[in-house]
Symmetry: C2
Subunit: 209 residues, 2 copies
């Protein structure tokens, strides 16, 4: 596409990705149902037909945004599975990678976490989320079997609590603040894997058995 | 009030608390804004004026529900402060107590966690939540100073991640399931304070320094 064609497809700066970014922000602010194509057009300073040039429907915008978040998370699990690391180290990679996806795709992940399954697009996204959760739970169970993670907590509870901690980051993280993604990922790993408590001599003796 | 008077104040089974329970469930299901007094009246099988006999407005119902959740959480912090325990042990009590409040007041806490500050009642609830967060953060900082919690993570990040884990329980916990409040509280404490990783001999040597 030449620059001229690009100009004719909408106002400069609003290609497909630009429309998507503005739409996701509006969905997070007002809710998906409450954000009409008319509201989006107004926010973008475009006609509705200019938006329809890029997306067949509001549902397609939602689907694309949720796919951004889900593809990122799925890639993290798939990449970890390619390594020959112990399960506990692959879990470390997954938790760390998930924090990065969350920070780098904050608006899309925020949208994903609010999906309740009201439409077919939302239900498909929830099914992919459940599949992701299952893969993480399987990884926790594998690490428990190999003896590198404590096995006195149900693997699905571990997976839910660890992701509860990670997902809560969308509630308070603001880009450009004191913490960057690497620092946050270090904090999550430190708490989830090693805990907050300083070892007392008692505990170390207990560990040494 | 005699039983007869009680009957005249509404259908049997719907005293003030009964109305509150049904209203909170509806707010969580449809959202507060989308739930009108008419919808509530229909759900309860009462006239709107029968509801107004117990609550001056929809806002008062919301305020009461949020107060249930907030008072529970505030009592947990206040009770822990009365003990002479070390800060790390008081934090243990607070995290454990918060899981109990969450499980026992699941609908009210769910409602609290969704509040975005759209009304004066919501803004007052958010201010109380921030105050609670500050007290937890201060407790974490105190435990870090006394040397019982690791101090390489910012106290407010610790507090946010720990409560991210706890608050996420509203997303998946269903009363009557396999886990009860005590078991869940044990799991949260185990992960947050001691971590998931089994000690390796290397790590124990490192701890013994």
């Amino acid at each position: 596409m030449t620059e001229n064609q690009s100009m004719r497809r909408g106002r400069p700066g609003y290609d497909r990705q630009g429309i998507l970014d503005v739409a996701v922000t509006a969905f997070n602010e007002y809710g998906y149902d409450a954000t009409s194509m008319g509201v989006l057009a107004e926010r973008l300073g475009l006609s509705k037909s200019a938006i329809y040039h890029h997306f067949a429907s509001k549902d397609e915008i939602l689907e694309q945004a949720l796919d951004t978040a889900l593809s990122g998370l799925e890639a993290v699990v798939a990449d970890a599975a390619l390594t020959a690391d112990r399960a506990a180290d692959r879990l470390d990679r997954v938790l760390r990678g998930a924090v990065h996806v969350l920070v780098e795709q904050l608006p899309s992940v925020t949208l994903l976490l609010r999906v309740r399954g009201n439409t077919e697009v939302e239900r498909r996204a929830l099914a992919r989320r459940r599949d992701f959760d299952k893969r993480v739970t399987a990884l926790v169970a594998e690490a428990q079997r190999e003896g590198s993670l404590r096995s006195d907590i149900d693997a699905s509870v571990v997976s839910r609590l660890a992701f509860g901690m990670i997902n809560s980051i969308v509630e308070w993280y603001r880009p450009g603040g004191r913490e960057n993604a690497d620092g946050l990922a270090d904090d999550v790993i430190a708490i989830a894997l090693d805990g907050l408590r300083m070892p007392t001599s008692n505990r170390v003796e207990e560990l040494l058995g």
